[in-house]
Structure formats: structure tokens, C-alpha cells
Symmetry: C2
Subunit: 331 residues, 2 copies
């Protein structure tokens, strides 16, 4: 016989989270990830209660192409932070449904040491979840982690376009990991990521690779002059590091701390968070308008036939759209 | 006293258009471009009537960075086609509001010779119109031009990201104009346009530039191997041309004709148009859902205050979104 988990009130959740209870944090995240509207309603009641206790962290987005060593970097970087006594949460966005693929975030062997650290909390995305959905949840997970008392929130994303923009839009500091090597240089430029990074770190600057990494640092630093100034008002730096040999990680954290301090002074820190809130609001409205439309029983029933008529050109696509919209409004 | 233009019925429009009356075509396009819902309703009644008479053209999208010579190319290419007795319509998307700027499409001196050609019809976009809006109209303008009897429809767009994707999504054949020169090569790759082109044409292959153009042709042809195969099932070619000296234009038209023939045989021609219809339908639904939401009087009234609350973090962005959506649904 399966034991039923007791249904908690918004107060129960909020109290547990604010006491730093990770079990309660995990249950709240599960609530957020649930597709049941009952769960969603409950989740947003929890948010009303915890919101005043959020915001007190530095939110770091980390990206880079597959193979750049994101997981090892986060493991080493996270351990360095917990060794300082800092509470670190790691959230991962895995758009595994994207055509370029990506690593399997559910993999138990990843970040094993950090996962077992009492000061750290590692939460991978559910595999196969829709990109928009995962990003939506991740933004909420950041707030839940902050209310639980985590001081550094790391959001990881694999190097594919849309998910990077999403992560950029929910973090204070965006770190692009790169490798020394000609092909990779093109990658970074091609994908338009460099324009959004607050720091470029050339990883795997160890062993025979050190010289190449230092050379690449110079090349990237020059390339950055082609791009418009960051909205942070601070110059974008390029550094080298080695997650394997634990080198350069302290320096990266110093850059981040300095960035936070300076952008709090010049107001860009608050400005970014505020514009992220507005973006988040409009994005939710758009996503929700579409969801409500496409999940409406009458639309679901009519859609296949209408789509077919538009597709083969029996009716004009826009006329079909207008018919469906009118049907929806008369519901 | 201003003379009032007589209001026509959908039948008047359809009849005029199907008789090849350009004045009626222009008036129908004006109708489509109107923001009044009365005009829009009328326009879509016209579409129901003309739809069976559309589709009998080859729809060519043309793009390239500013300075590549798009207007001169279209002028020369269009004249070459009308000299064969073909009826040619040119539609232009000008996202002049984009930050990268772009040429002014309303410029009367552009394509002067083609504009005065009785077999040609040149219609620039209204300056400053919203990108999505222009693209929406352009797609409808193609259908109106086809019903009026135009056999080749050329849609021009300046080299900025989103408008290119839109034009790609409403044409049968996508031509990327390029120049010989190192910087430009990077441009094409960077913007991800090369992946969507059906043909690359290196323009200005004239005078001292001929050798450089031929060399660039080889470089681009090699570069194309890095990209996945086109969904047309046909290899993407690179050619050189000179709009100034009228060279290579016949060849480009031959490539297009051959492309149409082959993709009609392998089914990709119809498949592209069908998926474009579906895309168009869903895109219209999304745009219209948003428009109806944001233009609703109660939402307009509540939005500024609510946006402010979300922005400063007084309320959670998602909770604000949900509040507004509930307000909208109860209207």
C-alpha cells in the first residue's frame, strides 16, 4: 500500500522554507513543477508568503558548449564556495528535447561531491521537460532557494540559443565558459552569446593547454571590443581557469563579488532585476494566454481539422486563425 | 473639400483583382495594412474569394547585408524577367525601427525603371511599421499579387535576424546576396542566414572585383559543407553575378526554375508551403491573443500599476500575470 503524502497548507510550506528546511524546499519545487492547476495555485500562495524573504543572493548563470566542462567547473567552484561557509544552490536547465542534444542532467554521477555537501543543494531539471516550462520553473526555484537561505544560486544551461537568453534573463551575472581552440571561438561569436556575457572564462587551462589558453584569452579580449558595451556599465573581462586543478576559481568569485558591488553602486544590479521581473510578467502572460487557448476543450476539438484546412490551403491561414479565436471568445 | 473614396464590397475587390486591376490590388493592400478592425474584416472576406486563385507563382525571398546591392539586383533581375514577358511583383520589408537601421524603402529613386515597367508592381512597406505587422501584411500581399496575375513575387528584406526568418517562412526560394570580402563572410555565418539559403549569389562580380568574387565562391561553397543539408533535398549552390553589368542573372533564374521543378517532383515545394500555412496560422493566433489581451480596456487601465508592482518586487511577477489574466477572463 502506497503511503499518501500529507497535503500541506501554504503556511506549512512557507514556514518550513524560511526555517531552511530542504525537504520542504524540494516539495515546493515539486509543486511548482506540477502541471495540476491545484498545485500551481498552492505554489503561488506560497510565493506570496516567501517573496519578502527573497533576493538576498547572487544569481550566477553559467553556459558554454557541450564539452567545455560545465559540470566539473560547477562542482569545483561550488566546493570552493562551501569551503568558505557559503550556502550554494545549483539549478540546471536541460533542454534535452532540442535538436543539438546535450548532457543528461539527471545523471547521478554528476556533481557527486557537491550534491553530498551539507551546504549545497543540487536540483537537476526533469528530463524532457519543455524548455519554456523548465525556464519558468527555474526562475521560481531561484526564489524558493533564496527564501531557504542559499546565498549563491548557480543556474546552468547547455550551449543552445534560447535557453541561454532565458537564463540570462533570470540571473545577475552571466558567465560564459570557453575552451582554447579555433572552432570554439567561432561558436561563441556565432551564437551571439559573447554579447551577453559578464565574464568569459577559458576553462581547462591546465597541463599542455596552459599556453593555448593564455593566447586565447588575448584573442577573446580583443574580440570583445567589437561588441557594444555591456548594460552593466562594466568592462567584460576574460580569464583562464582550471576546474581540474582548482585554479582561477577564487579569482572568478572575486570578479563576481566586485561586479555585484559595483553594479549595486551604479544601480545596474537593481535595474537588471527589475527589468527581469517585467520580462517575466509579460512572458508569463503570453505563455498562459497560449496555454489557455490551446487547452480549451472546444479548441482542442476543432484544431486538427482547422489546421488541416489551413495547411492544404482550403482556407486562408489567417481566416482559420480568426475563426478559432472567435470560437474561443464565444466559449 | 476632400473627396471620399467609395467603400467597395468584397465582391468588387475580388472581381477587380482577378481581372488584373492594379489599382484594386493597391486598394486591397491598403485595406490589409489598415489597423481598423472594419477594414481587416473586409480584407479577410476578400481573401475567402481570391484564395482559390492564389499560389501560381514562384515566391523568391532576397536578403543580404546593407550595401550588398539588393535594390540594384532586384531592379536588374526584375527587368530581365519582364523582358521575358513575365509579370513581376516586388514587396519589401523594411524593419527601419530595428537598431541596426537599414535603407529607406520609401525612397522614390529606388527601382525606378522597374517601378515604371507595365509588367512590374513595386510596393514598399510603410516606413516605421512594426516588424511583425509588416511581415504579416507581406504574406497576405503575396496572395493578392498572385490573384492579380503576377508570376514571380520577390520579397526583399534587409539583413537583420528576425525579418529574414519571417521572409524565409513565406517564400519558396531564399536567395542570399553576398559580397567578396573577409568581414562579410563572418557576417553570413554569424547571423545564421547561410543555413536557410537555397542559393548564395556573390554580387558585384564586376571590374577588378571579379577575381575576388570567384575566390569567395570557392570559400563559401566549402563552408556550406559544414551546414546540414537543406530541407529542399537539393544541394545549395554558390554563384557570382553582377547587377551592374547584367551578368549571372539569367543563370540565377535558371537555378530557381530548376529548384521549383525538382522540389515539385520531390514534394518539398508543396511541403514547404503547407508548413508555412500552419506556421502562419499559429503565429496569427499568438499575435492576436496578445493584441486582444493588451488592448482590452480593463487590462490597459490596470497594467501600469501592476507592472510597477511586479517590477519592484512588491508582488511576484507570475502572481501579477495571473491576476491580470483572471481579470481578463472575467471581463
Amino acid at each position: 500500500m502506497r503511503r499518501k503524502i500529507q497535503r500541506l497548507t501554504p503556511e506549512d510550506y512557507a514556514k518550513g522554507i524560511l526555517q531552511g528546511n530542504r525537504y520542504m524546499l524540494s516539495r515546493a519545487i515539486t509543486l511548482i513543477e506540477s502541471k495540476r492547476s491545484q498545485d500551481q495555485d498552492l505554489a503561488y500562495q506560497v510565493f506570496e508568503k516567501i517573496l519578502p524573504y527573497t533576493g538576498n543572493s547572487v544569481r550566477i548563470g553559467i553556459t558554454g558548449v557541450p564539452g567545455v566542462g560545465k559540470s566539473s567547473f560547477i562542482e569545483s567552484f561550488g566546493k570552493m564556495l562551501t569551503n568558505k561557509g557559503l550556502k550554494v544552490a545549483v539549478l540546471a536547465i536541460d533542454p534535452s528535447s532540442q535538436r543539438t542534444g546535450g548532457s543528461i542532467m539527471g545523471d547521478k554521477t554528476r556533481m557527486e561531491s557537491l550534491s553530498n555537501d551539507p551546504l549545497a543543494y543540487v536540483r537537476p531539471s526533469p528530463a524532457g521537460a519543455a524548455l519554456g516550462g523548465v525556464a519558468r520553473m527555474t526562475s521560481e526555484c531561484i526564489l524558493l532557494c533564496e527564501a531557504t537561505g542559499f546565498e549563491v544560486i548557480i543556474v546552468e544551461t547547455v550551449g543552445v540559443g534560447q535557453s541561454e537568453i532565458e537564463v540570462r534573463n533570470m540571473t545577475d551575472f552571466f558567465l560564459l565558459l570557453m575552451l582554447a581552440g579555433a572552432g570554439d571561438e567561432l561558436q561563441g561569436i556565432k551564437k551571439g552569446i559573447m554579447e551577453n556575457a559578464d565574464l568569459l572564462a577559458i576553462n581547462k587551462a591546465d597541463g599542455d593547454n596552459q599556453m593555448k589558453a593564455r593566447q586565447a584569452r588575448v584573442v577573446y579580449q580583443k574580440a570583445l571590443h567589437w561588441f557594444p558595451l555591456s548594460d552593466s556599465g562594466l568592462p567584460v573581462k576574460v580569464v583562464t581557469c582550471s576546474a581540474l586543478e582548482n585554479r582561477g576559481l577564487e579569482n572568478i568569485f572575486k570578479v563576481i563579488q566586485n561586479f555585484k558591488e559595483k553594479t549595486q553602486e551604479n544601480g545596474r544590479f537593481q535595474a537588471r532585476r527589475q527589468s527581469q521581473n517585467t520580462y517575466r510578467m509579460h512572458r508569463t502572460i503570453k505563455a498562459e494566454l497560449e496555454r489557455r487557448f490551446y487547452e480549451h476543450p472546444e479548441i482542442r476539438q476543432a484544431l486538427t481539422e482547422k489546421e488541416q484546412q489551413a495547411q492544404v490551403g482550403e482556407l486562408h491561414a489567417v481566416n482559420v486563425a480568426r475563426e478559432l479565436l472567435n470560437l474561443y471568445e464565444q466559449k
